[in-house]
Symmetry: C2
Subunit: 248 residues, 2 copies
Protein backbone atom coordinates (compact mmCIF):
# COMPACT_ATOMS: atom_id res chain seq x y z
CA UNK A 1 0.00 0.00 0.00
CA UNK A 2 1.22 3.43 -0.91
CA UNK A 3 -1.29 5.79 0.64
CA UNK A 4 -1.11 9.41 -0.49
CA UNK A 5 0.04 11.38 2.58
CA UNK A 6 -2.78 13.87 2.01
CA UNK A 7 -5.24 11.38 3.51
CA UNK A 8 -3.48 10.98 6.86
CA UNK A 9 -2.43 14.64 7.12
CA UNK A 10 -5.70 16.32 6.20
CA UNK A 11 -7.38 18.77 8.56
CA UNK A 12 -10.62 20.69 8.67
CA UNK A 13 -10.30 24.42 7.85
CA UNK A 14 -12.67 26.97 9.40
CA UNK A 15 -10.72 30.18 8.65
CA UNK A 16 -10.39 31.29 5.04
CA UNK A 17 -8.18 33.79 3.23
CA UNK A 18 -10.51 36.56 2.02
CA UNK A 19 -7.99 37.61 -0.64
CA UNK A 20 -7.76 34.31 -2.49
CA UNK A 21 -10.80 34.04 -4.70
CA UNK A 22 -12.37 30.82 -5.93
CA UNK A 23 -14.46 31.01 -9.09
CA UNK A 24 -17.79 29.37 -9.79
CA UNK A 25 -16.10 27.66 -12.76
CA UNK A 26 -13.43 26.09 -10.54
CA UNK A 27 -16.04 24.91 -8.05
CA UNK A 28 -18.08 23.42 -10.89
CA UNK A 29 -15.03 21.65 -12.34
CA UNK A 30 -14.39 20.00 -8.97
CA UNK A 31 -18.05 19.06 -8.62
CA UNK A 32 -18.02 17.54 -12.10
CA UNK A 33 -15.09 15.31 -11.16
CA UNK A 34 -16.81 14.45 -7.85
CA UNK A 35 -19.97 13.39 -9.68
CA UNK A 36 -18.02 10.41 -11.06
CA UNK A 37 -18.19 8.95 -7.53
CA UNK A 38 -20.47 5.90 -7.13
CA UNK A 39 -24.23 6.34 -6.72
CA UNK A 40 -27.33 4.16 -6.43
CA UNK A 41 -28.42 2.77 -9.81
CA UNK A 42 -26.86 5.80 -11.50
CA UNK A 43 -30.00 7.81 -10.71
CA UNK A 44 -27.89 10.73 -9.37
CA UNK A 45 -30.60 11.74 -6.93
CA UNK A 46 -28.75 14.78 -5.60
CA UNK A 47 -28.20 18.47 -6.28
CA UNK A 48 -25.77 21.03 -4.91
CA UNK A 49 -26.45 24.72 -4.37
CA UNK A 50 -23.31 26.86 -4.62
CA UNK A 51 -23.90 30.08 -2.67
CA UNK A 52 -21.23 32.76 -3.06
CA UNK A 53 -23.29 35.96 -2.80
CA UNK A 54 -22.56 37.72 0.49
CA UNK A 55 -26.15 38.73 1.17
CA UNK A 56 -27.41 35.21 0.64
CA UNK A 57 -24.69 33.81 2.88
CA UNK A 58 -25.78 36.34 5.52
CA UNK A 59 -29.32 34.96 5.20
CA UNK A 60 -27.99 31.40 5.63
CA UNK A 61 -25.83 32.33 8.61
CA UNK A 62 -28.48 32.08 11.40
CA UNK A 63 -29.48 28.61 10.18
CA UNK A 64 -25.85 27.65 10.78
CA UNK A 65 -25.95 29.28 14.24
CA UNK A 66 -23.68 32.08 13.04
CA UNK A 67 -20.64 29.87 12.50
CA UNK A 68 -18.06 32.33 11.07
CA UNK A 69 -16.97 30.06 8.22
CA UNK A 70 -20.25 30.79 6.40
CA UNK A 71 -19.20 34.41 5.94
CA UNK A 72 -15.42 33.96 5.59
CA UNK A 73 -15.57 31.14 3.01
CA UNK A 74 -15.56 31.76 -0.72
CA UNK A 75 -18.65 29.61 -1.08
CA UNK A 76 -21.19 27.66 0.95
CA UNK A 77 -22.16 24.41 -0.77
CA UNK A 78 -25.48 22.88 0.26
CA UNK A 79 -25.66 19.25 -0.89
CA UNK A 80 -29.23 18.00 -1.15
CA UNK A 81 -31.06 14.74 -1.68
CA UNK A 82 -32.98 15.56 -4.88
CA UNK A 83 -35.80 13.42 -6.24
CA UNK A 84 -37.44 16.49 -7.81
CA UNK A 85 -35.35 16.33 -10.98
CA UNK A 86 -35.53 12.53 -11.29
CA UNK A 87 -39.30 12.43 -10.78
CA UNK A 88 -39.90 15.25 -13.25
CA UNK A 89 -37.95 13.20 -15.78
CA UNK A 90 -40.01 10.07 -14.95
CA UNK A 91 -43.30 11.93 -15.42
CA UNK A 92 -42.16 13.49 -18.71
CA UNK A 93 -41.33 9.96 -19.90
CA UNK A 94 -44.65 8.34 -19.05
CA UNK A 95 -43.24 6.62 -15.97
CA UNK A 96 -44.81 6.67 -12.47
CA UNK A 97 -42.19 7.21 -9.73
CA UNK A 98 -42.51 5.49 -6.35
CA UNK A 99 -39.88 7.35 -4.34
CA UNK A 100 -41.91 9.13 -1.65
CA UNK A 101 -40.61 6.80 1.04
CA UNK A 102 -37.83 6.25 3.58
CA UNK A 103 -35.81 3.76 1.53
CA UNK A 104 -35.54 6.22 -1.37
CA UNK A 105 -34.59 8.97 1.06
CA UNK A 106 -31.80 6.74 2.44
CA UNK A 107 -30.37 6.10 -1.06
CA UNK A 108 -30.46 9.84 -1.53
CA UNK A 109 -28.62 10.56 1.72
CA UNK A 110 -25.95 7.96 0.95
CA UNK A 111 -25.41 9.20 -2.61
CA UNK A 112 -25.41 12.86 -1.61
CA UNK A 113 -22.81 12.31 1.11
CA UNK A 114 -20.60 10.25 -1.21
CA UNK A 115 -20.76 13.12 -3.73
CA UNK A 116 -20.07 15.75 -1.04
CA UNK A 117 -17.13 13.83 0.38
CA UNK A 118 -15.63 13.29 -3.07
CA UNK A 119 -15.84 17.06 -3.61
CA UNK A 120 -14.15 17.66 -0.23
CA UNK A 121 -11.29 15.32 -1.12
CA UNK A 122 -10.78 16.91 -4.54
CA UNK A 123 -10.87 20.43 -3.08
CA UNK A 124 -8.47 19.60 -0.26
CA UNK A 125 -6.06 17.87 -2.64
CA UNK A 126 -6.04 21.17 -4.54
CA UNK A 127 -4.94 23.13 -1.48
CA UNK A 128 -8.38 24.34 -0.51
CA UNK A 129 -9.81 24.11 2.98
CA UNK A 130 -13.27 22.77 3.75
CA UNK A 131 -15.57 22.37 6.72
CA UNK A 132 -18.82 20.39 7.06
CA UNK A 133 -21.48 22.26 9.04
CA UNK A 134 -23.60 19.78 11.01
CA UNK A 135 -26.22 22.49 11.52
CA UNK A 136 -27.71 21.54 8.14
CA UNK A 137 -29.73 18.67 9.64
CA UNK A 138 -30.81 20.89 12.56
CA UNK A 139 -32.12 23.81 10.57
CA UNK A 140 -33.05 22.25 7.24
CA UNK A 141 -36.41 24.11 7.08
CA UNK A 142 -34.77 27.55 7.28
CA UNK A 143 -32.08 26.56 4.78
CA UNK A 144 -34.75 25.27 2.37
CA UNK A 145 -36.53 28.61 2.60
CA UNK A 146 -33.44 30.72 1.88
CA UNK A 147 -32.36 28.49 -1.02
CA UNK A 148 -35.85 27.93 -2.52
CA UNK A 149 -35.64 24.14 -2.17
CA UNK A 150 -38.83 22.57 -3.61
CA UNK A 151 -40.65 19.42 -2.53
CA UNK A 152 -38.54 16.21 -2.75
CA UNK A 153 -35.34 18.16 -2.02
CA UNK A 154 -33.70 17.86 1.43
CA UNK A 155 -30.33 19.40 2.39
CA UNK A 156 -28.09 16.87 4.18
CA UNK A 157 -24.57 18.30 3.98
CA UNK A 158 -23.27 21.86 4.02
CA UNK A 159 -19.61 22.39 3.15
CA UNK A 160 -17.77 25.72 3.33
CA UNK A 161 -14.79 26.09 1.01
CA UNK A 162 -11.96 28.56 0.48
CA UNK A 163 -8.19 28.87 0.75
CA UNK A 164 -6.94 28.43 4.34
CA UNK A 165 -6.02 31.65 6.20
CA UNK A 166 -3.95 29.87 8.84
CA UNK A 167 -2.52 26.43 9.55
CA UNK A 168 -5.33 24.31 10.93
CA UNK A 169 -4.60 21.75 13.67
CA UNK A 170 -4.77 18.05 12.88
CA UNK A 171 -7.57 16.37 14.78
CA UNK A 172 -7.07 13.26 16.93
CA UNK A 173 -8.69 9.95 16.06
CA UNK A 174 -9.38 6.77 18.01
CA UNK A 175 -6.92 3.92 17.37
CA UNK A 176 -8.16 2.13 14.25
CA UNK A 177 -8.34 -1.25 16.00
CA UNK A 178 -11.13 0.24 18.11
CA UNK A 179 -13.20 0.79 14.96
CA UNK A 180 -12.36 -2.21 12.77
CA UNK A 181 -13.94 -5.60 13.50
CA UNK A 182 -12.30 -8.75 12.12
CA UNK A 183 -14.86 -10.99 10.31
CA UNK A 184 -17.79 -10.21 12.69
CA UNK A 185 -18.62 -7.49 15.20
CA UNK A 186 -16.83 -8.05 18.51
CA UNK A 187 -18.55 -6.20 21.30
CA UNK A 188 -16.47 -4.05 23.63
CA UNK A 189 -15.55 -5.02 27.18
CA UNK A 190 -15.09 -2.25 29.78
CA UNK A 191 -11.32 -2.77 29.43
CA UNK A 192 -11.59 -2.36 25.64
CA UNK A 193 -13.41 0.96 26.10
CA UNK A 194 -10.77 2.21 28.54
CA UNK A 195 -8.03 1.29 26.09
CA UNK A 196 -9.71 2.78 23.00
CA UNK A 197 -10.41 6.14 24.64
CA UNK A 198 -7.19 6.39 26.73
CA UNK A 199 -5.20 8.44 24.24
CA UNK A 200 -8.07 10.85 23.54
CA UNK A 201 -8.73 11.37 27.24
CA UNK A 202 -5.05 12.09 27.86
CA UNK A 203 -4.93 14.98 25.34
CA UNK A 204 -4.35 18.46 26.82
CA UNK A 205 -7.47 19.67 24.95
CA UNK A 206 -9.61 17.12 26.77
CA UNK A 207 -8.57 18.43 30.20
CA UNK A 208 -9.24 21.95 28.90
CA UNK A 209 -12.78 21.08 27.67
CA UNK A 210 -13.59 19.39 31.00
CA UNK A 211 -12.37 22.41 33.01
CA UNK A 212 -14.02 25.03 30.76
CA UNK A 213 -17.37 23.28 31.05
CA UNK A 214 -17.11 22.44 34.74
CA UNK A 215 -17.53 18.70 34.11
CA UNK A 216 -15.98 15.57 35.61
CA UNK A 217 -15.29 13.64 32.40
CA UNK A 218 -14.83 14.30 28.68
CA UNK A 219 -17.89 12.13 27.95
CA UNK A 220 -20.00 14.54 30.02
CA UNK A 221 -18.89 17.41 27.78
CA UNK A 222 -20.58 15.53 24.92
CA UNK A 223 -23.71 14.39 26.76
CA UNK A 224 -24.34 17.50 28.90
CA UNK A 225 -22.99 20.36 26.77
CA UNK A 226 -22.31 19.68 23.10
CA UNK A 227 -24.91 17.07 22.12
CA UNK A 228 -27.63 17.12 24.76
CA UNK A 229 -30.67 14.83 24.85
CA UNK A 230 -33.19 17.71 24.79
CA UNK A 231 -31.59 19.32 21.74
CA UNK A 232 -31.21 15.97 19.96
CA UNK A 233 -34.86 15.13 20.53
CA UNK A 234 -36.04 18.58 19.48
CA UNK A 235 -34.02 18.56 16.26
CA UNK A 236 -35.02 14.94 15.55
CA UNK A 237 -38.63 16.05 15.42
CA UNK A 238 -37.83 19.13 13.31
CA UNK A 239 -35.86 17.08 10.77
CA UNK A 240 -38.27 14.15 10.53
CA UNK A 241 -41.24 16.56 10.17
CA UNK A 242 -39.31 18.38 7.43
CA UNK A 243 -38.53 15.17 5.53
CA UNK A 244 -42.25 14.33 5.60
CA UNK A 245 -43.13 17.84 4.42
CA UNK A 246 -40.69 17.45 1.52
CA UNK A 247 -42.55 14.31 0.47
CA UNK A 248 -40.69 11.30 1.89
Amino acid sequence: MNINPYFTDRRTVRNYDANRKLSFEDITAMLEAASQAPNTGNMQIYSVVVTRDENLRRELSPAHFGQPSVMSAQAVLTFCVDFNRFEKWCRQRNAVPGYDNFQAFMWGVIDTIIFAQQFVTIAEMNGLGTCYLGTVTYNAPQIAEVLDLPERVVPVATVTVGYPATDAPKSDRLPIKGIVHDEKYHDYSPADIDEIYAEKEALPDSAKFIAENGKETLAQVFTDVRYKRDDNEYFSKVFSDFIKKQGF
Copy 2:
Protein backbone atom coordinates in the same frame (compact mmCIF):
# COMPACT_ATOMS: atom_id res chain seq x y z
CA MET B 1 -7.45 23.63 -10.61
CA ASN B 2 -5.35 20.58 -11.19
CA ILE B 3 -7.68 17.67 -10.56
CA ASN B 4 -6.05 14.27 -10.24
CA PRO B 5 -7.22 12.28 -13.30
CA TYR B 6 -8.16 9.37 -11.03
CA PHE B 7 -11.33 11.23 -10.02
CA THR B 8 -12.73 11.66 -13.52
CA ASP B 9 -11.57 8.25 -14.78
CA ARG B 10 -12.69 6.07 -11.86
CA ARG B 11 -15.06 3.19 -12.40
CA THR B 12 -16.88 0.68 -10.23
CA VAL B 13 -15.39 -2.84 -10.23
CA ARG B 14 -17.58 -5.91 -9.71
CA ASN B 15 -15.17 -8.63 -10.94
CA TYR B 16 -12.08 -9.35 -8.87
CA ASP B 17 -8.85 -11.24 -9.52
CA ALA B 18 -8.93 -14.29 -7.22
CA ASN B 19 -5.15 -14.63 -7.41
CA ARG B 20 -4.24 -11.20 -6.07
CA LYS B 21 -4.63 -11.30 -2.30
CA LEU B 22 -5.33 -8.35 -0.06
CA SER B 23 -4.28 -8.66 3.57
CA PHE B 24 -6.22 -7.59 6.65
CA GLU B 25 -3.26 -5.35 7.52
CA ASP B 26 -3.45 -3.51 4.18
CA ILE B 27 -7.19 -3.04 4.56
CA THR B 28 -6.70 -1.74 8.10
CA ALA B 29 -3.98 0.68 6.94
CA MET B 30 -6.37 2.15 4.35
CA LEU B 31 -9.17 2.35 6.91
CA GLU B 32 -6.85 4.13 9.34
CA ALA B 33 -6.07 6.79 6.72
CA ALA B 34 -9.78 7.04 5.88
CA SER B 35 -10.67 7.65 9.52
CA GLN B 36 -8.93 11.03 9.25
CA ALA B 37 -11.93 12.16 7.15
CA PRO B 38 -14.26 14.67 8.83
CA ASN B 39 -16.92 13.51 11.31
CA THR B 40 -19.53 15.04 13.60
CA GLY B 41 -17.99 16.47 16.77
CA ASN B 42 -15.16 13.93 16.49
CA MET B 43 -17.41 11.31 18.10
CA GLN B 44 -16.50 8.74 15.41
CA ILE B 45 -19.87 7.05 15.71
CA TYR B 46 -19.09 4.30 13.21
CA SER B 47 -17.54 0.85 12.95
CA VAL B 48 -16.54 -1.32 10.01
CA VAL B 49 -16.68 -5.11 9.85
CA VAL B 50 -14.08 -6.60 7.50
CA THR B 51 -15.29 -10.02 6.37
CA ARG B 52 -12.79 -12.11 4.43
CA ASP B 53 -13.71 -15.65 5.53
CA GLU B 54 -15.36 -17.52 2.65
CA ASN B 55 -17.99 -19.24 4.78
CA LEU B 56 -19.07 -15.98 6.35
CA ARG B 57 -19.24 -14.30 2.96
CA ARG B 58 -21.42 -17.20 1.80
CA GLU B 59 -23.72 -16.48 4.75
CA LEU B 60 -23.84 -12.79 3.78
CA SER B 61 -24.50 -13.54 0.12
CA PRO B 62 -28.32 -14.03 0.26
CA ALA B 63 -28.70 -10.70 2.08
CA HIS B 64 -26.97 -9.14 -0.93
CA PHE B 65 -29.30 -11.04 -3.29
CA GLY B 66 -26.42 -13.27 -4.41
CA GLN B 67 -24.48 -10.49 -6.13
CA PRO B 68 -21.30 -12.31 -7.28
CA SER B 69 -18.91 -9.62 -6.02
CA VAL B 70 -19.54 -10.80 -2.42
CA MET B 71 -17.84 -14.12 -3.21
CA SER B 72 -15.23 -12.96 -5.73
CA ALA B 73 -13.94 -10.00 -3.68
CA GLN B 74 -11.05 -10.30 -1.25
CA ALA B 75 -13.18 -8.72 1.46
CA VAL B 76 -16.69 -7.45 2.16
CA LEU B 77 -16.64 -4.31 4.30
CA THR B 78 -19.83 -3.51 6.20
CA PHE B 79 -19.76 0.10 7.40
CA CYS B 80 -22.11 0.70 10.33
CA VAL B 81 -23.50 3.59 12.31
CA ASP B 82 -22.22 2.70 15.80
CA PHE B 83 -23.43 4.38 18.99
CA ASN B 84 -22.76 1.20 20.98
CA ARG B 85 -19.08 2.00 21.55
CA PHE B 86 -19.67 5.72 22.21
CA GLU B 87 -22.50 5.08 24.67
CA LYS B 88 -20.54 2.39 26.52
CA TRP B 89 -17.78 4.98 26.93
CA CYS B 90 -20.29 7.59 28.18
CA ARG B 91 -21.73 5.21 30.77
CA GLN B 92 -18.26 4.16 31.98
CA ARG B 93 -17.50 7.86 32.46
CA ASN B 94 -20.57 8.78 34.48
CA ALA B 95 -22.27 10.47 31.51
CA VAL B 96 -25.87 9.83 30.36
CA PRO B 97 -26.10 9.56 26.55
CA GLY B 98 -29.16 10.89 24.67
CA TYR B 99 -28.59 9.41 21.24
CA ASP B 100 -31.56 7.05 20.82
CA ASN B 101 -33.15 9.36 18.24
CA PHE B 102 -33.34 10.20 14.53
CA GLN B 103 -30.98 13.19 14.62
CA ALA B 104 -28.19 11.07 16.15
CA PHE B 105 -28.88 8.35 13.58
CA MET B 106 -28.50 10.94 10.79
CA TRP B 107 -25.11 12.13 12.11
CA GLY B 108 -24.13 8.47 12.18
CA VAL B 109 -25.22 7.87 8.59
CA ILE B 110 -23.41 10.96 7.34
CA ASP B 111 -20.18 10.15 9.20
CA THR B 112 -20.26 6.48 8.24
CA ILE B 113 -20.70 7.28 4.55
CA ILE B 114 -17.92 9.89 4.61
CA PHE B 115 -15.64 7.27 6.19
CA ALA B 116 -16.69 4.59 3.65
CA GLN B 117 -16.20 6.90 0.68
CA GLN B 118 -12.77 7.99 1.91
CA PHE B 119 -11.82 4.29 2.11
CA VAL B 120 -13.13 3.75 -1.44
CA THR B 121 -11.05 6.64 -2.78
CA ILE B 122 -7.89 5.46 -1.00
CA ALA B 123 -8.39 1.87 -2.21
CA GLU B 124 -9.10 2.90 -5.79
CA MET B 125 -6.09 5.23 -5.85
CA ASN B 126 -4.03 2.17 -4.88
CA GLY B 127 -5.23 0.19 -7.91
CA LEU B 128 -7.97 -1.70 -6.09
CA GLY B 129 -11.52 -2.04 -7.35
CA THR B 130 -14.57 -1.43 -5.17
CA CYS B 131 -18.33 -1.71 -5.40
CA TYR B 132 -21.04 -0.41 -3.06
CA LEU B 133 -23.89 -2.90 -2.56
CA GLY B 134 -27.16 -1.03 -2.10
CA THR B 135 -28.72 -4.20 -0.70
CA VAL B 136 -27.35 -3.27 2.72
CA THR B 137 -30.30 -0.95 3.46
CA TYR B 138 -32.75 -3.58 2.14
CA ASN B 139 -31.58 -6.52 4.19
CA ALA B 140 -29.99 -4.88 7.22
CA PRO B 141 -31.70 -7.31 9.67
CA GLN B 142 -30.15 -10.40 8.03
CA ILE B 143 -26.74 -8.70 7.79
CA ALA B 144 -26.92 -7.74 11.47
CA GLU B 145 -27.62 -11.36 12.36
CA VAL B 146 -24.71 -12.80 10.36
CA LEU B 147 -22.28 -10.18 11.70
CA ASP B 148 -23.52 -10.15 15.33
CA LEU B 149 -24.34 -6.44 15.26
CA PRO B 150 -25.64 -5.37 18.69
CA GLU B 151 -28.19 -2.69 19.59
CA ARG B 152 -27.27 0.85 18.44
CA VAL B 153 -25.38 -0.53 15.42
CA VAL B 154 -26.93 -0.21 11.93
CA PRO B 155 -25.18 -1.18 8.68
CA VAL B 156 -25.54 1.56 6.03
CA ALA B 157 -22.84 0.83 3.43
CA THR B 158 -21.38 -2.41 2.13
CA VAL B 159 -18.27 -2.19 -0.04
CA THR B 160 -16.61 -5.13 -1.79
CA VAL B 161 -12.89 -4.75 -2.49
CA GLY B 162 -10.22 -6.59 -4.46
CA TYR B 163 -7.92 -6.22 -7.46
CA PRO B 164 -9.86 -5.86 -10.74
CA ALA B 165 -10.06 -8.99 -12.90
CA THR B 166 -11.01 -7.09 -16.06
CA ASP B 167 -11.26 -3.53 -17.31
CA ALA B 168 -14.48 -2.08 -15.97
CA PRO B 169 -16.50 0.33 -18.11
CA LYS B 170 -16.71 4.00 -17.17
CA SER B 171 -20.24 4.96 -16.20
CA ASP B 172 -22.08 7.92 -17.74
CA ARG B 173 -23.10 10.94 -15.68
CA LEU B 174 -25.59 13.75 -16.20
CA PRO B 175 -24.06 17.06 -17.36
CA ILE B 176 -22.88 18.84 -14.22
CA LYS B 177 -24.90 21.97 -14.99
CA GLY B 178 -28.01 19.81 -14.45
CA ILE B 179 -26.91 19.16 -10.85
CA VAL B 180 -25.29 22.45 -9.77
CA HIS B 181 -27.47 25.40 -8.80
CA ASP B 182 -25.98 28.91 -8.82
CA GLU B 183 -26.71 30.78 -5.54
CA LYS B 184 -30.21 29.28 -5.01
CA TYR B 185 -32.11 26.25 -6.29
CA HIS B 186 -33.51 26.84 -9.78
CA ASP B 187 -36.34 24.48 -10.52
CA TYR B 188 -36.35 22.57 -13.79
CA SER B 189 -38.56 23.38 -16.76
CA PRO B 190 -39.66 20.53 -19.06
CA ALA B 191 -37.07 21.77 -21.58
CA ASP B 192 -34.35 21.64 -18.90
CA ILE B 193 -35.26 18.03 -18.13
CA ASP B 194 -35.14 17.08 -21.81
CA GLU B 195 -31.73 18.69 -22.14
CA ILE B 196 -30.25 17.19 -18.95
CA TYR B 197 -31.30 13.63 -19.83
CA ALA B 198 -30.71 13.81 -23.61
CA GLU B 199 -27.20 12.37 -23.60
CA LYS B 200 -28.10 9.54 -21.20
CA GLU B 201 -31.17 8.61 -23.22
CA ALA B 202 -29.11 8.52 -26.43
CA LEU B 203 -26.63 5.92 -25.08
CA PRO B 204 -26.72 2.51 -26.79
CA ASP B 205 -27.13 0.88 -23.34
CA SER B 206 -30.33 2.83 -22.75
CA ALA B 207 -31.95 1.47 -25.91
CA LYS B 208 -30.78 -2.01 -24.85
CA PHE B 209 -32.31 -1.70 -21.34
CA ILE B 210 -35.61 -0.48 -22.81
CA ALA B 211 -35.76 -3.37 -25.30
CA GLU B 212 -34.68 -6.06 -22.79
CA ASN B 213 -37.37 -5.01 -20.36
CA GLY B 214 -40.10 -4.42 -22.92
CA LYS B 215 -40.59 -0.79 -21.89
CA GLU B 216 -41.27 2.45 -23.79
CA THR B 217 -38.79 4.72 -22.01
CA LEU B 218 -35.62 4.48 -19.91
CA ALA B 219 -37.44 6.10 -16.98
CA GLN B 220 -39.90 3.18 -16.99
CA VAL B 221 -36.99 0.76 -16.56
CA PHE B 222 -36.30 2.53 -13.26
CA THR B 223 -39.90 2.91 -12.04
CA ASP B 224 -41.31 -0.44 -13.27
CA VAL B 225 -38.34 -2.81 -13.10
CA ARG B 226 -35.30 -1.70 -11.11
CA TYR B 227 -36.73 0.46 -8.30
CA LYS B 228 -40.43 -0.32 -8.04
CA ARG B 229 -42.89 1.33 -5.65
CA ASP B 230 -43.93 -1.95 -3.98
CA ASP B 231 -40.33 -2.97 -3.26
CA ASN B 232 -39.39 0.52 -2.10
CA GLU B 233 -42.32 0.63 0.31
CA TYR B 234 -41.68 -2.88 1.60
CA PHE B 235 -37.99 -2.20 2.25
CA SER B 236 -38.79 1.21 3.75
CA LYS B 237 -40.81 -0.53 6.44
CA VAL B 238 -38.16 -3.22 6.99
CA PHE B 239 -35.40 -0.64 7.39
CA SER B 240 -37.31 1.80 9.59
CA ASP B 241 -38.50 -1.08 11.83
CA PHE B 242 -34.90 -2.28 12.06
CA ILE B 243 -33.58 1.17 13.02
CA LYS B 244 -36.18 1.31 15.81
CA LYS B 245 -35.23 -2.21 16.95
CA GLN B 246 -31.57 -1.13 17.10
CA GLY B 247 -32.59 1.67 19.43
CA PHE B 248 -32.98 4.85 17.38
